[in-house]
């Protein structure tokens, strides 16, 4: 385990604390994680304790023994979650409308980091296995899923160290990752998805094919959603510094927004077809509130 920078540690602790807050704010009942295993493989019986899910009562056993036992599934305690964090150049975009944390505006990558840290914390303390993959045009680091609490530190450190890279090429990378993750589990993809939507959907379908549950957290900056620019501007591509565009933003605003809207609709529709959970985020929103809302919603529906 690498030595952590006190400031980083503090940050990470803060992340943890936040994560906990998030989790505790949204969970009610003994099973803290809203995530369940969904395997139907019967593992063992456990005596019923108040608070357990009534659905899991094994009535046959009750019939036989007149005592309440719940069924436990193999995956219930063995949820493997892998967080995929997009660290391409486009994630470095901050903008002026993003929410701040500690006096600093959050770039999409920062936002994604916080989202990832929160989820990782949540999972680990639920005794689920968590892993992390960072990528841009290719996989940077792959930390396989472990359920030990100490693994969290490693993951958080890795999150902290991740810097934005070059270009985005989601399709091939995700295909690659899909091959790497051994068993079925939960895949959380945090990205701005700035790539061909069809390629992305195809790649996500690869995960679904391998029977992973996929959660897509689509992080966008507020400017990318509203395009509030005024007056002649020269747009520099973050990923390709030589690519510049000198335009009058007002002239293109309407068409740009149409494009973005169309893109997001496509992703949303595609995800809906594949039963992939699609959650759009704007960096303007406080990430904790946004994530808490999502988790609450998810807890209710399962």
């Amino acid at each position: 385990m690498s030595l952590l920078d006190p400031a980083a540690l503090a940050t990470i602790h803060r992340m943890e604390f936040l994560a906990r807050g998030v989790v505790e704010g949204s969970v009610s009942g003994r099973h803290r994680s809203p995530f369940h295993g969904f395997s139907v493989e019967f593992a063992e019986h456990r005596e019923y304790a108040p608070g357990d899910n009534i659905r899991d009562l094994d009535w046959r056993v009750f019939g036989k023994t007149d005592r309440y036992y719940i069924k436990q599934y193999m995956e219930e305690t063995n949820l493997r979650c892998t967080v995929l964090l997009d660290a391409s150049g486009s994630m470095n975009y901050t903008g002026n409308l993003a929410s701040s944390r500690n006096g600093r505006r959050l770039s999409k990558l920062d936002y994604g980091r916080y989202l990832a840290a929160t989820l990782l914390h949540l999972m680990i303390h639920q005794q689920d296995a968590v892993g992390l993959v960072t990528f841009d045009t290719r996989v940077r680091r792959h930390l396989p899923a472990r359920s030990r609490t100490s693994h969290l530190r490693v993951l958080l450190q890795e999150l902290y160290d991740t810097q934005a890279g070059d270009e985005t090429a989601l399709g091939p990378v995700i295909h690659d990752i899909a091959e790497r993750v051994p068993r079925r589990g939960l895949i959380v993809l945090i990205s701005d998805l700035f790539d061909d939507p069809e390629a992305i959907l195809k790649a996500l379908h690869h995960f679904r094919f391998r029977r992973h549950e996929v959660l897509l957290l689509h992080v966008m900056a507020e400017e990318e959603l509203t395009f509030p620019f005024d007056g002649w501007s020269e747009f520099h591509d973050l990923e390709l510094p030589t690519s510049r565009l000198e335009i009058d933003p007002k002239a293109l605003r309407a068409t740009y927004l149409d494009e973005v809207r169309g893109f997001m609709e496509r992703i949303k529709k595609g995800c809906g077809e594949m039963a992939v959970d699609y959650v759009p985020f704007s960096t303007r929103q406080d990430f904790d509130v946004a994530l808490a809302n999502y988790l609450a919603g998810r807890a209710r529906t399962t």
Binding site: Y93, F194, S233, Q285, N293
Partner: protein, 848 residues
């Protein structure tokens, strides 16, 4: 198109303003780091063309707008005569503005912007040059007002100005234009009017500032064309004379005419250069302007183009034939009515036309009339036809009918029997029947006198012709009288036989030393009877007096044998000498010389029996008659004169005689002069001068501009001298070319312009501009201002439309259904549920 305020075009630099502003905006472009390039690029790609087009159109429109405003401020002007069409010049400027705007829009592309800027610069340069050159040409051609003016207006008063255009004569149009010019003059300007007929007539003595008086002259009902043809050079010279006394610094002469080519005489370099020099001598030299009125669309005219009287000497013995030529000088075929012939206002004949006359064709009708009274008669010819020019349908001729024609024959061969001398034979030929019966009396009254007696004759002028029949020599006094006689129009025939003294005749000259006798005597030849007989060569008879006997089919003059003749030597360099006929051997037979107003004829034969067998021929009598008629003709009065000639008639015993030297008609003392009223062709009255001394009266009249019939009214005491007639008619001839409306060709006008600086103007506005200063044309700054306004409106509308197309104000941002919203929605729903349940409970309780 040009600009009156060319300097203001410097403001065209402002056209660059929209471009500069546009570029500055782009220069201030903020740098923005951006991640979502793919969407930006996608949206740009879809709109790239459209965006560029919108930019180009907007910038071009703004540049055009500014260019239009600047051009309007430079006072654009459309001259009536532009070297380049105005649309072209306007195109240059607008093209430059559009190129500038487009260059601003495509600034990124270096090659394109360079080309466009180059196009802008070149179009602008060409445009400014074109406008500048046109402006300079305008200043050269037209005259800027600076100072007071002296304007002389010459109005064409020829007959062709009577033709109608738009319901009124061209002359009326000319009056209206002249009046418009005078009206546009400033109070300090002076003007004069000249009516141009054959001679110009100034209607005011010099240029005057009394414009009202000039308008009065122009609109006076009696102000009519003078008639006849216009003397262009004469009237221009008259205008120059009128301007010589003017004082104002700016001088103009405008000639308002229908442009008829007659009398312009463009090839007559001496006259035009004289006029040019005269104009240059005036300081500052006046500028000449020529306003040619538009011709009428159709022209139908038939008129009398000439009257030919068969004989110049008319007596009571034979009828005279009048040949009247009627010509179609219009552009359409005509069928004229009849020609009516009157003698002294009495109908005397009528001839009509059977066929239509095509344009340019002529036809002749003949009238025969035998006069029964001597004196001056007026023959009138009236063509009945309603055409565009009525002035040439009437013509008249004044003819003098003689009771007798006295001829003096001086007999040189004295002593012989009368019918053997040439004089006797000639006398016999001239007056064959000596009878007192008036019907048989011939016109010619020959008197024979011996050479010695002839010297005693006092007044030779009562004879019309004198024949010296083989006279050896003459006394000096008689010779001098002969000189005066011929000089004044009398005719002299000298026949040379064996008696003549060659030395005398060869030395016979006038006082000034001019030769008198047509040829010099060399030697006398004879043809011996043995040799081949010598005859007259009728083929050489080209003279009008010999025409009758030259006809070989009728005349036997060519078969007469000549025995003796004089060999004559003529001076080929002398232009007044003509050989009328020759002998077969080439020697001259008859030689003629013009001397003063009369003729001297010299015959190489004596015309007696000794020299030839001619007296026995049948042709002898006509030959003698014709020669005498020919010689007597000039003394006959010219009662039909050219326009502008001053006529002076000496009234002697019933036969008015025109004096060739009018200065001799000066009065000797005031008491002898009286005014003789003259009736002019249009019925007005003029004033002639009558100088009466006993039975000898001379009457003078000089206002013979208008063609037509004039009558000098003779007061009582002069009537006796006129043989009892109370009025003396004469006619002024009308030039027949005046009826043909051939216009001055461009080439002819160009050769006139080469000699004299004369500016042709088209239209009344140009004429007034040429006189009144300024440039003819149209100022169009208002139009350009309107265009600028329209462009401004268009630009605003276009901006709005573009903004609407881009949905600048209506674009919806991408709104995420944020969990926060969902939360709020859920909370709101929960609250709603709570309140609803509470209400239901309350209602249930209430029902219970």
């Amino acid at each position: 198109m040009t600009f009156l305020n060319l300097i203001m075009l410097a403001g065209l630099v402002l056209v660059a303003a929209p471009v500069v502003i546009h570029l500055l905006n782009r220069h201030k472009a903020k740098a923005v780091e951006w991640a979502a390039m793919r969407f930006l690029l996608a949206s740009l790609l879809a709109q790239r063309r459209r965006l560029l087009l919108e930019e180009i159109v907007l910038l071009a429109l703004r540049c055009l707008l500014i260019a239009a405003v600047v051009m309007a401020m430079a006072r654009p002007f459309l001259p009536t005569r532009a070297a380049l069409p105005w649309s072209l010049v306007l195109l240059f400027f607008s093209g430059a503005a559009i190129c500038a705007g487009t260059a601003g829009a495509v600034w990124k592309s270096v090659t394109l912007r360079r080309r466009l800027l180059l196009a802008t610069a070149s179009l602008l340069t060409i445009g400014i040059l074109a406008a500048g050159v046109q402006g300079w040409l305008l200043k050269q051609a037209w005259f800027t007002p600076s100072g007071e003016r002296d304007v002389v207006i010459i109005i064409d008063g020829s007959d062709s100005m009577r033709v109608n255009l738009d319901g009124r004569p061209l002359f009326q149009h000319a009056i209206e234009e002249a009046a418009a010019i005078i009206e546009k003059l400033n109070p300090g300007d002076a003007a004069g009017i000249i009516l141009a007929g054959a001679q110009p007539r100034a209607l005011v003595k010099s240029t005057t500032q009394d414009h009202a008086a000039l308008q009065g002259i122009l609109h006076h009902p009696e102000f009519k064309p003078a008639g006849g043809a216009m003397g262009v050079l004469e009237s221009l010279n008259a205008a120059a004379a009128m301007l010589a006394e003017s004082q104002n610094p700016i001088r103009r002469v405008i000639l308002i005419t229908d442009g008829q080519a007659l009398n312009w005489d463009p090839q007559n370099v001496p006259r035009w250069s004289y006029l040019a020099q005269r104009l240059k001598a005036l300081t500052p030299p006046p500028k000449l302007v020529c306003r040619i009125l538009a011709p009428p669309p159709t022209y139908r005219n038939a008129g009398i183009s000439g009257v030919h009287i068969s004989r110049q000497v008319i007596g009571l013995d034979r009828p005279v034939e009048f040949e009247v030529t009627v010509r179609n000088s219009g552009l359409l075929p005509v069928l004229p009515g009849a020609v009516a012939f009157t003698v002294d206002d009495q109908a005397a004949g009528r001839e009509s036309f059977a066929k239509e006359l095509p344009p340019g064709a002529s036809e002749t009708v003949r009238f025969e009339h035998r006069f029964d009274k001597p004196g001056r008669h007026v023959t009138g010819f009236q063509l009945a036809y309603d055409d565009d020019l009525a002035a040439d349908n009437v013509d008249s001729r004044a003819v003098d009918v003689l009771e007798r024609l006295p001829v003096l024959i001086v007999n040189g061969a004295s002593g012989s029997r009368p019918f053997e001398t040439p004089a006797g034979l000639i006398q016999l030929a001239l007056a064959p029947a000596a009878s007192n019966d008036p019907a048989l009396r011939s016109l010619i009254e020959p008197t024979v006198a011996e050479a010695a007696d002839a010297a005693l004759i006092d007044d030779l002028f009562r004879f019309r012709a004198i024949v010296l029949a083989d006279v050896p020599r003459l006394p000096q006094a008689f010779a001098n009288k002969l000189l005066a006689f011929v000089h004044n129009g009398g005719g002299l025939l000298v026949t040379a036989g064996s008696q003549v003294e060659a030395g005398f005749y060869n030395a016979f000259t006038s006082r000034a030393g001019e030769p008198f006798i047509p040829a010099t005597f060399e030697a006398r030849h004879t043809q011996p009877t043995g040799k081949t007989p010598l005859h007259l060569d009728l083929k050489s008879f080209t003279h009008p007096a010999l025409r009758l006997v030259a006809d070989t089919s009728h005349s036997d003059a060519g078969t007469q044998i000549i025995h003796a003749w004089w060999k004559l030597a003529t001076d080929p360099r002398d232009a007044s000498v003509h050989v009328c006929g020759q002998l077969e051997n080439g020697d001259s037979f008859l030689v003629e010389r013009e001397f003063g107003r009369g003729f001297v004829m010299l015959s190489a034969l004596s015309l007696g029996a000794a020299d030839s067998s001619l007296p026995a021929a049948k042709a002898y009598v006509p030959l003698i008659h014709e020669m005498v008629y020919y010689l007597a003709a000039p003394a006959a009065c010219e009662s039909n004169v050219k326009p502008g000639t001053e006529v002076a008639f000496e009234l002697v015993q019933g036969a008015p005689r025109q004096l060739c030297n009018t200065s001799s008609a000066k009065p000797r003392s005031l008491s002898e002069t009286r005014e003789a009223p003259v009736v002019l062709p249009d019925g007005q009255q003029g004033a002639g001068l009558l100088i009466a001394t006993g039975d000898h009266a001379v009457v003078r009249f000089s206002e013979t501009l208008a063609p037509g019939l004039y009558r000098i009214q003779l007061p009582g005491n002069a009537r006796a001298a006129a043989g009892g007639q109370d009025s003396l008619p004469f006619t002024v001839l009308r030039p027949p070319e005046e009826s043909v409306l051939t216009r001055l060709s461009d080439a002819d006008f160009a050769s006139v312009r080469a000699q004299v600086d004369i500016l042709p103007v088209r239209g009344q506005t140009e004429a007034i501009a040429a006189m009144g200063g300024g440039f003819p044309g149209l100022e169009i700054w208002k139009h350009l201002a309107l265009i600028a306004f329209a462009a401004a409106l268009a630009e605003t509308a276009l901006c709005r439309w573009i903004a609407r197309q881009r949905r600048v104000h209506s674009a919806e941002t991408v709104v995420l259904t944020t969990p926060a919203d969902d939360l709020r929605a859920r909370v709101a729903r929960a609250q709603h549920l709570i309140t609803a349940t509470a209400q239901m409970k309350k209602q249930a309780v209430n029902r219970l």
